[in-house]
């Protein structure tokens, strides 16, 4: 189990605010920190990885103290067994795919590289350089590099946000598979609700540095907010004007639905599609 209880003064676009979070991550759990830009999400990951120091607090990994401001303990990043995937891939451009993944490994661990490259479907590209890969492929290299050392926690800082929609969906599936396959403990930072729903066991909703809500994605985003039992999160893919209506096509976890509305939306908007439980028809498919 990972225990995080930290405070740090930050400067956001509205001025100074205090990041003040306390939470635990169970082994094997997929936890997401959700929040708007500037809410302090990325700082939490960087503090866990040791890339930034909190003003005060305590971080523990399975009984091993990584940071304790009272006792003056502060393990440097290289002594913390964390895997970190950044939004911008952060690969070494002068190294091949294989060399990038093997970079931080000892010689005797090198046989794991081939195995992990096969899992992320990059084995055939192992001698290529990052510049010749697509964004999705580069991010899979970064992911392979982060998990090859069998980290105590995998930290993902909006890893898919720079990718095309269809690649993003594919990589979400792969991320979920890897999390289960390697029994990883994963902490994701995301502001994409459909992504949070798809991947997370639990969500922490961060606002201005404070935890506003915590629970399953359903508890945090849906329950007690709207009485529609027939409600789903989705992303607007298309908007067609028809007569005095807008016909909005929404992707709900791969299922496309159309909703007739007079409201205006933009492509890419994250939306809640809902109806009363009394309204949909249900019919057996014979």
């Amino acid at each position: 189990m990972i225990v995080v209880d930290v405070k740090k003064e930050l400067i956001g676009y509205k001025g100074k605010f205090t990041l003040d979070v306390s939470f635990k991550v169970e082994k094997g759990e997929f936890l997401t920190i959700f929040g708007k830009s500037g809410s302090g999400k990325t700082t939490v990951l960087r503090i866990i990885a040791g890339l930034e120091n909190p003003d005060e607090g305590y971080i523990e990994f399975d009984g091993k103290v990584y940071f304790d401001s009272k006792k003056g303990v502060n393990l440097p990043p290289q002594k913390r067994n964390v895997g970190f995937v950044f939004q911008n891939y952060a690969l070494f451009p002068n190294m091949t795919v294989y060399e990038n993944v093997a970079f931080a490994l000892d010689k005797e661990e090198r046989d794991k590289v081939d195995e992990i490259l096969k899992v992320v479907e990059l084995y055939n590209l192992k001698d290529r350089y990052p510049s010749s890969l697509s964004g999705g492929q580069q991010q899979r290299v970064a992911l392979a590099r982060a998990i090859v050392k069998n980290p105590d926690i995998l930290l993902l800082d909006e890893p898919l946000s720079a990718l095309d929609y269809s690649i993003r969906l594919k990589l979400q599936d792969q991320l979920k598979k890897l999390h289960k396959m390697f029994n990883l403990t994963t902490l994701l930072v995301s502001h994409d609700k459909p992504e949070v729903f798809k991947l997370s066991d639990r969500v922490i909703y961060l606002e201005d540095g404070k935890i506003k809500k915590e629970g399953t994605p359903r508890e945090v985003f849906i329950e007690k907010s709207i009485s529609g039992k027939f409600s789903f999160y989705g992303t607007v893919l298309d908007i067609r004007k028809s007569d005095i209506l807008n016909i909005v096509t929404v992707d709900i976890n791969g299922n496309l639905v159309e909703v007739a509305t007079t409201e205006d939306f933009n492509i890419g908007d994250e939306v809640l599609v809902g109806a009363k439980a009394f309204n949909p028809i249900i019919k057996k498919i014979s």
């Binding site: 005095i244 007079t262 009394f278």
Partner: protein, 129 residues
């Protein structure tokens, strides 16, 4: 989408369904939800909620067809399309819109300034907490 603020004045429930009476500025509404006070903590007398009415869920009529779930308003504007008409009404400073087919609209024989009623079924009101 139309939203009006209301507060809960009555709750009748079975093990899974509640019928809620809500008081709003434009009148009383009954609404049914697949919850009861044990499963949804917003179901408490005096709690404030938003009532959401979808524009296509209104029955627009010249006369009051039910004593409840109906509110009256003055027609402020009308936008007629090829198949649908959007009718905006005003009641106590609040604006509501209904989307009805031209067939329904033409039969109503209404114009700007007319007094009309909007009715919504209890199963069509969505509550937002």
């Amino acid at each position: 989408m139309n939203i009006v603020k209301g507060y809960i004045v009555g709750i009748e429930f079975t093990d899974t369904i509640s019928q809620i009476k809500l008081n709003t500025e434009i009148g009383d509404f009954y609404c049914v939800v697949l919850e009861n006070p044990d499963t949804a903590n917003y179901l408490k007398i005096d709690n404030t909620v938003n009532l959401i009415f979808k524009e296509t869920d209104f029955v627009v009529c010249r006369d009051k067809i039910h004593p409840f779930n109906t509110f009256q308003g003055t027609v402020k504007s009308i936008f007629k399309g090829q198949l649908f008409t959007r009718v905006f009404i005003e009641n106590k400073g609040l604006q509501f819109s209904a989307l009805i087919t031209n067939l329904e609209f033409d039969n109503l024989l209404i114009d700007i300034g007319s007094q009309i009623y909007f009715y919504i079924k209890p199963t069509n009101i969505i509550l937002e907490v």
